[in-house]
Structure formats: structure tokens, C-alpha cells
Amino acid sequence: MRFSCRLVEGPASAAWCKSQVVIDNTVGCTLCFAGQIRQNNNQRNDVVALHYQAYPEMFESEIKKISSEMAERFELLAIAVEHSIGEIKLGEQSVQVAVSAAHRRDTFAALEFFMVQLKKRVPIFKKEVYSDGAQWLGEQD
């Protein structure tokens, strides 16, 4: 299974991920996920931006480990992940994930598996910025 990932300053865009997973004519399905900054969380309704920080070397190695686990569980051809660092404003996208396979069924399960693991393991840190302050966030579902 082919694996690609990168960190980008500013918003993430889908084009690079798609280009990494459509690897040849054996691909029959591509599934893409985009995570977007929303204005509300559990406590507040005035989020104006998120500030992301990453541990770049471990970001890559941890995503590689998750990809290996996915290769054992699902019939995938490729996965690509692009995640933002720095400040991402309300409405902008901070993460893009694309997976490809011969058939659609495994792509849905694989993408959900990846997102759960991303939020548990991959060293990305998030600070929520409000109109009157900011706070680092704990682990989320």
C-alpha cells in the first residue's frame, strides 16, 4: 500500500491528497475526507481560528505505523494525509485524507479507522482561539 503524508503551513487542500492516491488503473474508488474549522465546541460558540503545532518527525512515523496497520486490516491501494500547522481560520480546512482501493467498501471503514487513530496518536496539538483569548485542547473523539 502506498503511503504519503505532509504538513503544510496554512489551510489544507484536497488536490495533493487525491493526486497521491490515484496511483494507476487498478484504482476503482477514491474516498476523501476534509476537516474544517467550526465556530462552536462543547463550551463556546465564538471560535475564530485554531492554531496547530506538530512534532514533524513523529507525525510522519506515527502515520506510517497507522498506515501499516490499515494495510493489514483493509484492502487498500493508497492513503495520503495532509495536515495544517499554524493558524487556520474559521471555515478553512485543516486536514485532508484520501484513500483509494479497487472497491468502495473498505475505503469507508479504513477512513474512519484512520481518523480515530489520528486523534489518539499522531502528535498534533491544537489551540482554540476565541474573540477574547485562547486555550490548548485536550484529546477529543
Binding site: 476537516g35 512534532y55 513523529m58 506515527e62 481518523m115 499522531v122 498534533i124 496539538f125 490548548w136 484529546e139
Partner: protein, 79 residues
């Protein structure tokens, strides 16, 4: 041995530095490292974080070496 510990997120902000230097006895483990870090920096007391060595999460019994890359990893929340 002298170890550099990388800091991220809230830990980096509270320490006002992206890393700290700690002096440890030879053959120390991660548990020893945490005790020394907590004794020198109050911010590490009563705060939940994981430890990574050479880009892998480890537990307190993991042995440390001079050339290890060590990081304190606060709550992660990608996406």
C-alpha cells in the same frame, strides 16, 4: 547523561521554551526522567502527558541512552 527533551503545545508555552536539558544518571529509565523533570520544573507536576523516545511512545520502564531523542507529548488532537 545529558538529555534534551522536546516540548510541544501547552508544555512548550508553560516552559517558554521548545526544549529543556536534563542531567540524568547513567542507565536511567523514563520513570527516572519524569521524577527529575518534575523536581526541576513544577509545570510537569500533576499534568498528563506521554513520553516519546525516538518517535515512539514508551512507558516508564523504558531505558534511556545518550543519543535518544526524547519528547514530552501533551494531549494530541489532530483534525
Amino acid at each position: 547523561m545529558n538529555l534534551t527533551v522536546k516540548l510541544f503545545g501547552e508544555l512548550q508555552e508553560l516552559c517558554e521554551n521548545s526544549s529543556i536539558q536534563l542531567q540524568l544518571p547513567a542507565h536511567s529509565c523514563v520513570g527516572d526522567l519524569l521524577l527529575i523533570a518534575s523536581s526541576q520544573y513544577e509545570i510537569f507536576n500533576n499534568r498528563v502527558f506521554r513520553v516519546a523516545v525516538n518517535c515512539s511512545y514508551v512507558d516508564n520502564s523504558h531505558s534511556l541512552g545518550d543519543s535518544d531523542e526524547v519528547a514530552f507529548i501533551p494531549a494530541v488532537c489532530g483534525g
